[in-house]
Subunit: 275 residues, 2 copies
């Protein structure tokens, strides 16, 4: 990805693989509904909760040129990176701000579409965040979520360091209060947030890598995460991994990317809630 | 599903869930290519290998009204059922015959598209079947496969009998010489069959159930499989399960289908090989 000349624009290691996301590959279940809503009202207001570097938010903003996207993240350090990506993309109908999914800094019934990806699965009480997302959504608006289900990860070849990484990543998610089986729980979380079953459409999508370029990008990102950054620090501090294991993981991700027969896929749970 | 008045038309328990398949939900990765090939040649010849009850074959035949589908299965007992389904569907441009994927009863370069679903994963030497599929395919034709990857199955709620079923089904696949991680191995199998990497497009799809009707159909099929039919017989004979366990599986599938918060998904590996 190209980078702006303004600083700070370099993504932290934990953000690189998230920046592969866009509306097409990570919000596909929302787009048909978005397009039909845009026909009726071109001035849609969209909220992206836990937007990270904002690569999905920016592509959502491209899809509603007469509308507006608000993208929030709990971590204020990612905001300059997100703003740089929007600027590089030439997108103006977007704003980024710090915000907590449990206490969204918006009035009731503000947005037409409230969206999140790979956010609820990190929370101790995902149903509370969904309730907040519903609160800030207009009547007849939609709340949409897409969350990876790490336990469905399917990788070939099954190199030892790659399998070790998978277990380590799942353990870290659980240790931080999230869950590696989030994708399959979007429906129960929505029901716990007070939504009726007939308001909810469930689907499943995938997230996969098989071309040399996709594999290299993914493997480099994973290697960087275990050689530096939050995942490494947290893993060593908590005793969930060792320096030797981390190096084995990085090396095997690099070997994996070089293999002609390698691919990786993970399932993503999806819900579309009609308010 | 409606049934013809001719006998034998009732599916055996192991076929019921396979009859949920059609070209849309099980050959999506092939359809764009099929449509572009049909533009050039409306008289396409398609081979469906391991077609079972032929529900995918029939929908492929619908997509090429001026073409012809040949559907084969190793088990001759399923052929009357497949013919009945084609007849009910009003499809004439199709024929069903007995045939072995390892020794396809066709001359070299006979078909424009050679397809299989949930077939290679049951074989001891899937690369040999792929080599046969390539043999009977015309130059510039395509070989397409889609295979479930059972280990990616993602189910909620995680009822004990349902988890037990998952392990039992995987053990039975392995015991019969197949693999529960077939979906992720389509690429290595194609390479072993002698295909070059740049002739192969890899993708992943899903197979999921979340509406009351989908869940009931799936759960009933699974309950029937463990209360009667080949899976039950084989499981008891091999000692991989017990009567008590089988009854727990059936009961928990039925409970699962009744739950508002229940859903199930499994990833499917996909390859499209350009000959």
């Amino acid at each position: 990805m190209e980078q702006s000349r303004k600083e700070p624009v370099y993504p932290p290691p934990q953000a690189i693989h998230h920046e592969l996301r866009n509306a097409e590959n990570s919000a596909g279940h929302v787009m048909a509904k978005l397009h039909s809503m845009r026909e009726i009202n071109p001035h849609l207001a969209i909220l992206d909760v836990g937007a990270g570097s904002g690569t999905i938010s920016v592509t959502l903003a491209k899809a509603i040129t007469d509308g507006h996207v608000t993208a929030i993240d709990l971590n204020p350090e990612i905001l300059p990176r997100a703003r740089a990506i929007a600027e590089i993309s030439g997108i103006n109908n977007i704003e980024f701000q710090q915000g907590d999914a449990y206490k969204l800094p918006f009035a009731d019934e503000t947005f037409d579409i409230t969206y999140c990806h790979q956010m609820l699965t990190h929370l101790k009480a995902p149903q509370d965040a969904l309730r907040e997302m519903l609160r800030v959504t207009k009547p007849r608006g939609i709340v949409a979520a897409r969350e990876g289900d790490l336990e469905t990860e399917c990788v070939w070849p099954e190199l030892p360091g790659v399998l070790k990484f998978h277990k380590f990543a799942a353990d870290m998610m659980s240790a931080a209060g999230g869950t590696p089986i989030g994708g399959r729980q979007l429906l129960p979380w929505a029901l716990k947030a007070g939504v009726k079953r007939d308001q909810i459409t469930v689907s499943y999508g995938t997230w996969s890598f098989s071309t040399p370029r996709e594999k290299e990008t993914w493997a480099q990102a994973m290697a960087e995460r275990v050689r530096g950054g939050r995942l490494r620090e947290g893993g060593l501090k908590s005793g969930l991994t060792t320096e030797n294991d981390l190096e084995e993981m990085a090396t095997d991700w690099e070997k994996w990317a070089q293999r002609d027969d390698a691919s990786l896929a993970m399932m993503q749970g999806e819900v579309l809630i009609q308010k």
